[in-house]
Every structure is written in C-alpha cells, then in structure tokens.
C-alpha cells in the first residue's frame, strides 16, 4: 500500500531523513520507534504532505501512485490520515462542523454526493460511542480548552469518521492516562481491517501492549537502523535507546 524508497528530506540546510525505505501492506500495523530527534515526526509529516520539508531524493507512493506532487488535502482525499502529536485549536468551529466539512470535502473530491445530515448524525453517534466521547463534547470548539487526552481521543474520533486507508498515529499515547490509552487503543483496533494499514509512531513501548504491531522499526539519525517483530519493542524497552546509539557509533 505505502511504499517509501530512499527518502531524503531536509528543512532549510538541515538534512533530517537520510534514506528511508519502508513497505507497508494492507492489513499491517507498523510501529516506528526511536529516540527524540531521530526524525519520526518528520517522516509522518512528510507522508502527509507538510510543505515545510523538502524532499531532496527518493519517492513515496500509495497504491502505486506517486504522492510527491500532491497537496496535503489531496493526500487526505486519497486516504492518508495523520493523527497529530499537537492537534490545533480552532475557536468558533465545533467538532461536529469541522468533521462534517472534512468528510464532505473528501466526498466531493472523490466525486460523491454530500453525506445526508441524518446519516452524518448516525455515524457521529456510532463513532463517538466507540471512543466513549460525550455528546456535549461534540458541540465544543475544536480542541479549544481540551485536555491532552481529549485532544488525542478527538483525533482518533476523526480517524474513525474519515475511515482512512493509511493512518499514521504520531505519539498518540503522549498525554494519555491509562484509561484513555485503553479507550483509544481499543478504538484503533476496532477500526483496523485487512483493507487498511496503520503506522504507530511512539517513543515508548506502552501503547504497543494495546496495539500490537506486525513490524517494529527503529529510526535513528534519519535512518531505519533495525527492523523486527513486536519483540523488538520489548527489547528496546529493556535495553533503552543507548543500546541503538552505541551500536550505531561502534
């Protein structure tokens, strides 16, 4: 589904990604781990089309289609979703109105009719129950005054509404207490199918107890330096990132 080949990217003069290769197939969950500053969030941003970064070499394609020339919204319309580490506050625009706009713009781009209001309400009710979101929450301004946990839960709610082909969860576990973590992970697992794929970006192994990955990759200094199965995450947790650092510098 997602194919990344020899991806190099920089911001200004600083090269952040130095040749990433990654293949993600439908039905798979990949975890990307690594120390701070390794380039994890940059990679997520670049897949989603953030124009602040310059791709200097390599390619990203989704189902065989080159993404490099597409704007962020066009990638979204093709099914790329990025759950933000720091979701943005938009005063005056309610969660419901925001998601309605997002869904209908996506449908429009895919030459579909707008979703009828009653169906929209039904789906909203269904998905908010899945993530144990209170109805009152939906009429509040998007992310304004939300706690860290509420923001993350709201991201996964939007993911549930948009039903993306490829979802990238950037540090979704940060700011979540254990109950919220369980709710979010449970939501993600229910959304998982053999037609979509998920990339989980995390610093800690904790989230991977709940969302069990098929593959774990370790990103260090702009490169994937190690790949393995779920047991690699446990090994990392035990040995710490110094293990990787020392190995690389040796």
């Amino acid at each position: 589904m997602l194919s990344i080949k020899n991806l190099h990217a920089s911001i200004g003069d600083k090269e952040i990604l130095k040749g990433i290769n990654l293949e993600v197939k439908a039905g798979e969950i990949h975890a990307i781990m690594g120390p701070n500053g390794a380039g994890k969030s940059t990679l997520a941003s670049i897949i989603a089309g953030n124009e602040n970064y310059e791709v200097t070499e390599g390619e990203i394609s989704l189902d065989g289609e080159d993404l490099s020339e597409l704007a962020p919204e066009e990638r979204a319309h093709k099914g790329v979703f990025l759950s933000f580490q720091y979701p943005v506050e938009i005063p005056g625009v309610s969660v419901t109105n925001f998601i309605r706009t997002a869904i209908n713009e996506t449908r429009k781009a895919n030459k579909l009719e707008e979703m009828p209001a009653n169906e929209m309400l039904k789906v909203i009710r269904e998905k908010s129950e899945l993530l144990e979101i209170d109805r009152k929450f939906l009429s509040r301004s998007l992310n304004e005054g939300f706690s860290g946990g509420e923001k993350k839960r709201n991201e996964i709610f939007q993911m549930a509404m948009l039903e993306p082909k490829l979802a990238i969860l950037d540090e979704t576990d940060s700011g979540l207490d254990i109950d919220a973590l369980r709710i979010v992970a449970n939501g993600v697992n229910k959304l998982k199918s053999d037609k979509n794929a998920i990339i989980v970006i995390t610093h800690y192994q904790r989230l991977l107890d709940y969302i069990v990955p098929d593959f774990v990759h370790v990103l260090y200094n702009g490169k994937i330096v190690k790949s393995g199965d779920a047991s690699l995450a446990l090994e990392l947790e035990e040995k710490g990132y110094d293990w990787i650092k020392n190995e690389q510098e040796a």
Binding site: A48, A71, E73, V88, P91, E105, T106
Partner: protein, 443 residues
C-alpha cells in the same frame, strides 16, 4: 472650486433652505467657522498621519442630493435583519425614505433628526443633548454640525427595554456623479433602559464601475443615562467608490454598559473616530472591531477612552485581516485621569497580513495619571498559522476553505460578542462571502 470653498459658500444657501432663524443658527455658524479655520485634516496632523483624504477631496462632490431614488422593499430586503421585527430608519443617498422605514412615537421616539430639530416638542432634548458630547474642535465633526439636518433621532425614556432592534440603514445608489452626505444621529437612552441598534452603510451598486464616488461624513452622539445598556453595531459594507468618515461620541453615566462593535468590510477609505467619555462610576465600555479588507482598501480605527472617574472599565478588541494592497490603522488612546483610580483598561489589536503588500500601522497610546490602575495593551501582526493550515488540509479541507476557517476562528472572539443571533449569522455570512467560500454550515 475646491471642496472647502464650495462647502463654505453652500452653507448660507443651506441655512436659508432650512431656517436661518432656527435656534441652531449659532451652533451651525460657530461650527462652520471652526471648519473654515481648520479645514480638512491632513497627514501633517498626528491623528491623521496614516490616512490621507487628498485624493478623495479632489472629487467635485455635490452637497445636496439631486434626484430622489425610489426603491422597492423587495430589492433591499436582504440587507434588513427582519421584515417586521425591527424598527427601521432608511436613508437613500442621504434622503429619508418614509416608505421603507418603520418609525415610532409609541412610548419612545425613533424618528428623523430633521423633524426633531424643527418641532417644538423635541426642543428640550435637542437643547440638552445635540452637539453636547461631540468634539467642537474637530473640523470634520464641525462640518457635519454646520450641515446637520438628516439622520436618526432616538430617544428612549427611562426603564424601557426596547422590544426590537433598531436598524439605521444608509444605502447609496451611486447614481449621482459624486455625492457628499452628512448624516447626524442622536441617541439618548434613559435610566435603566436597554436598546440594540444596528447602523449599516451599504452600497446597492456592488460593482464600482457603474457607481459615482461618495463621501459620507457621519456624526453620532450617544448618551447613556444611569444603568442604561446600549449595544451598537456598525456594519460598513460599501463598494470601492465609497468613503466613510464616522465620528461617534459616547457619553456614559454611572453603571452604564455601552458596546460599539464595528464591522468594516467595504469602502475605499474608512475612518472610524470612536470616543468614549465617562461621567460616573462603575461604567463599562466595550469597543470591538473586525476589519476584513483587500484590494487597495484602507480602514483606520482611531479610538479614545477617557477614564475620568474611578472604578470603571474599558475593553477594546480589534481584529484585522488585510490582503492585497490594503492598509489598516489602529490607533487606540486610553486616557486615565488622576481621579480615575481602580480603572481597568484593556486594549488588543490582532492583525493578519495575507500579502506582502498589505500594511498595518498599530499604535497604542496610554496616558495614565492615576496610580492604582490596571491597563494593558497588546498588538500582534502575523501571518496565518502554517501548522493550523496543515492540520486542516490534512483532514481534507482545501487550502481556501482552511484559510477561511482559520480567519473565522481568528475573529471569533469578536463575533461571539454579537448579542443578536440573526445579526451574528448575517455577519458570519458576510465574512464567508468576503473570504470567497461557501461553508457547509453557518460558520
């Protein structure tokens, strides 16, 4: 002939036409003298540093409207808040249209300035209030006073909650070559009374090509008696041939709450002189504004809050969005006299520049002579938040719509201060139109 000369020579004809023997003869005469001495303001004056009237004053304005334009309510309906549920004072090219208006004398007076100035039964109110809070030194205000004749006269007795909003509509048709109009509004709100007023300046000819240039020099005096509440909304939505100078003076007695919200979207040049004066304790003054302009439009907000008495507060919150080559000015003056202890005075001016060619000049001016006060001012000038743009685009919202949503969010604090729900909807609609988007919901 220069416009100034033309105005001076028109003055006598004007007075003869209304009534040379009127009680206001002396007021008018001294006003025209002040205008004669001072002339139109120029950029040499500190308060007009960023706004030049030169190019506008070159037009050969006619001082008296010639043709009376007959318009049907159906054509104007969309500009009103309600068909029936508002009082209406409608002026077309400065001329009152009784046919389109809905005035009243039933328990309160919502009528015409010209009749208030002439009829004996209004004499006492006119004597007590007319030209009493307006700045007698200010030349454009003086020019208006000299020619004051038409506008809104609103007198609300004490303990009256006015049952529906009052709409004062200044339509311009642009059908004359060049027209100068000088509306004069007087609003007296009695003790414990409450009123909501909307003043709208609206060109009917939205394309500038078919429209002659216009200049409106308006003066509004608002008197709030003890514990009165006044919510005043100004919607400035003219076309690019129109120029507007708005001089508004607010006099507040103790425990009054007066809000003036100014929404500036249209016009070639707009200057808002908004002045608040306090005469009592525990007064609240709110000054809010949203400016969204483009092209070569220019909007200048010049505010003054004169804190003369203790325990009062003032809040100023102005949001500006400037694209193309448009220019904005915010000059906010807060003056706290020595007696005005425990004053809370706050001022905010937040601006977004959407193009490299757009400009904003922001100048807070705080003069504080009391020692136990809380005063603050903050000014920001920025671009659209790129992270927020990326966030919305990532959710599939195209750039243009994302931009509009962000700008709406940026203005939201001021939009939230609109207390009439229908008006809030109207204004968000105008904003969406200005931003060139159609949202799937009423923003």
């Amino acid at each position: 002939m220069e416009l100034k000369e033309k105005l001076l020579s028109s003055f006598m004809a004007f007075e003869e036409q209304i009534d040379v023997n009127s009680d206001l003869h002396e007021v008018r005469t001294s006003a025209i003298k002040n205008f004669e001495n001072k002339g139109f303001p120029t950029k040499k004056e500190e308060s007009w540093k960023y706004t030049s009237l030169n190019s506008i004053l070159k037009n050969d304005f006619s001082v008296f409207p010639k043709n009376e334009n007959i318009l049907e309510f159906a054509d104007l309906k969309k500009y009103f808040l309600h068909e029936i549920d508002t009082y209406k004072l409608v002026f077309i090219d400065g001329v009152f249209s009784s046919f389109l208006s809905a005035t009243t004398h039933d328990g309160l007076d919502i009528c015409l300035m010209s009749s208030a100035l002439n009829k004996p039964k209004y004499k006492m109110v006119i004597d007590n209030y007319f030209n009493k809070i307006a700045n007698l030194d200010e030349s454009l205000t003086s020019l208006n006073t000299a020619f004051a004749n038409e506008g809104a006269y609103i007198n609300i007795p004490k303990s009256k909650v006015v049952d529906k909003p009052i709409e004062i509509m200044y339509f311009s048709t642009g059908s004359e070559a060049a027209l100068l109009v000088q509306p004069r509004n007087l609003i007296v709100v009695g003790e414990n009374s409450h009123v909501q007023i909307i003043e709208r300046h609206q060109s009917l000819n939205e394309s500038r090509m078919e429209s002659g240039p216009g200049l409106t020099n308006s003066v509004t005096e608002i008197f709030a008696q003890k514990r009165a509440i006044v919510d005043y909304y100004k919607i400035q939505n003219d076309n690019l041939e129109a120029n507007l100078i708005d001089n508004t003076y607010v006099s507040q007695k103790q425990e009054t709450n007066v809000s003036v919200n100014t929404f500036s979207f249209g016009g070639n040049l707009t200057r808002n002189n908004l002045n608040f004066y306090h005469f009592g304790e525990r007064i609240v003054s709110n000054l809010n504004g949203i400016t969204i302009i483009g092209d070569k439009q220019h909007v200048d907000h010049y505010t003054l809050v004169q804190h003369s008495t203790p325990n009062c507060e003032s809040h100023q919150d102005y949001k500006g969005i400037f694209s193309d080559r448009s220019t904005g000015v915010f000059n906010g003056k807060i003056y706290v006299e020595r007696e005005a202890q425990k004053t809370n005075a706050f001022q905010k001016s937040n601006n977004i520049l959407l193009s490299d060619k757009a400009t904003i000049n922001a100048k807070p001016q705080l003069e504080i002579f009391a020692d136990d006060v809380k005063c603050s001012h903050g000014c920001t000038i920025g671009q659209l938040d790129e992270t927020a743009m990326f966030y919305m685009q990532q959710r599939g919202i195209p750039k243009k719509e994302a931009k509009a949503l962000l700008m709406y969010a940026f203005s939201n604090a001021v939009i939230e201060s609109i207390k009439i729900p229908e008006l809030k909807q109207r204004i968000t609609k105008i904003i969406a139109t200005r931003l060139g988007v159609k949202m799937g919901f009423d923003l």
